[in-house]
Structure formats: structure tokens, C-alpha cells
Symmetry: C2
Subunit: 97 residues, 2 copies
């Protein structure tokens, strides 16, 4: 199991629309992907334009190949990318303890 | 409940010593703090000098006042700051879903 952490900065005053869009994407696309385990949307207290996605996948390739190279990834990005203030920063993590 | 996310970059080739130090700090100091709920150490797959702490607290102030202004925070920082390549970047988050 690996953890994807995506750091997202959105355009000011688009929080409700962005949250609605990512919820729709999780329901329709992300949660349907092979290897998907769980999704959390976390919103920064200090910067109201900053969000973190915490997404657990069975394997790294379930995200980087299975989901990212799918048609569903394009639909996902079409839903949420209009709100981005800059490109997301995405890393994958192994839990050490 | 809030989530503290701390992004840490450490000096190259100090991973085992750093992981040992943060484990000691969690055992001795962080987990003993009022309002502490849970701690995860996550290590980046793409950048072996990058770590994320995911720390759940009952309230924001349990971290920012209760822990950060305590003597235990000084001991915690003495244990792990020798490994830092730069200052940690810390935000607090509310889970949206």
C-alpha cells in the first residue's frame, strides 16, 4: 500500500465549486479505479486556497499507470483543473511507522 | 480534530538516524502531549530526503500552544533538527470529506 499526497493551490473564492468538483470526481472516477483504497480531502487552516489530497492505493502503478493513463483521469482533470492556481505537486509515500 | 502536516527535507544519507530520532521523539514527547491523537511518518518514494509527518490533534491549540510552547518541544527539536536540510513547512488542516 502506498500513499499519494497531492498539494493543490486553487484560485481565490472558488472553494465551494472546487470541493463539489473533487467530490464528484472521487465518486465517479477515482474511487472506481483499480487499486483505489481511500481518499481524504484536507483543507489548510492557514491558507484557504491550499488543499491536500491523501489517497491510498494498493500499488504505486495502480496510480501512476492504471489511473493516470486512463480515460477516467482525463475526465477527472477536466473537472478539477479549472480551479487550479498552479500545477499540483504530487509525491508517493511509504509509511515508515 | 485537526491534522498537522509537516514537510521535512533532511540532509542526504541521514535517513536511518533521522527515523530513529523522530521515533524516539514520538515515544518520549509528542505522544505524551495533551490532545495528541496519532502520528504517521511517511517517506517519499520519489525523493529519499523528503518526509511528511501526519499528526492528529484534538484542537489546533493543543499543537500550536500546548505542545509548541512546552519544554518538550525544545527536546523534540534538539533530537530531530540536526538532520534538517531546511526549515520544516507546517500547516494545519480540517478534513472536508
Amino acid at each position: 500500500m502506498i500513499l499519494e499526497i497531492a498539494e493543490i493551490y486553487i484560485r481565490p473564492n472558488t472553494q465551494p465549486a472546487f470541493e463539489s468538483a473533487i467530490r464528484e470526481s472521487v465518486d465517479k472516477y477515482i474511487s472506481k479505479a483499480k487499486g483505489f483504497i481511500s481518499f481524504e480531502l484536507q483543507k489548510s487552516i492557514e491558507d484557504e486556497t491550499r488543499y491536500i489530497f491523501l489517497i491510498q492505493w494498493e500499488t504505486l502503478e495502480d496510480h501512476t499507470i492504471g489511473f493516470r493513463q486512463s480515460e477516467q483521469f482525463q475526465y477527472h482533470r477536466e473537472l478539477i483543473s479549472p480551479y487550479f492556481a498552479k500545477d499540483p505537486f504530487v509525491h508517493h509515500f511509504n509509511r515508515r511507522f
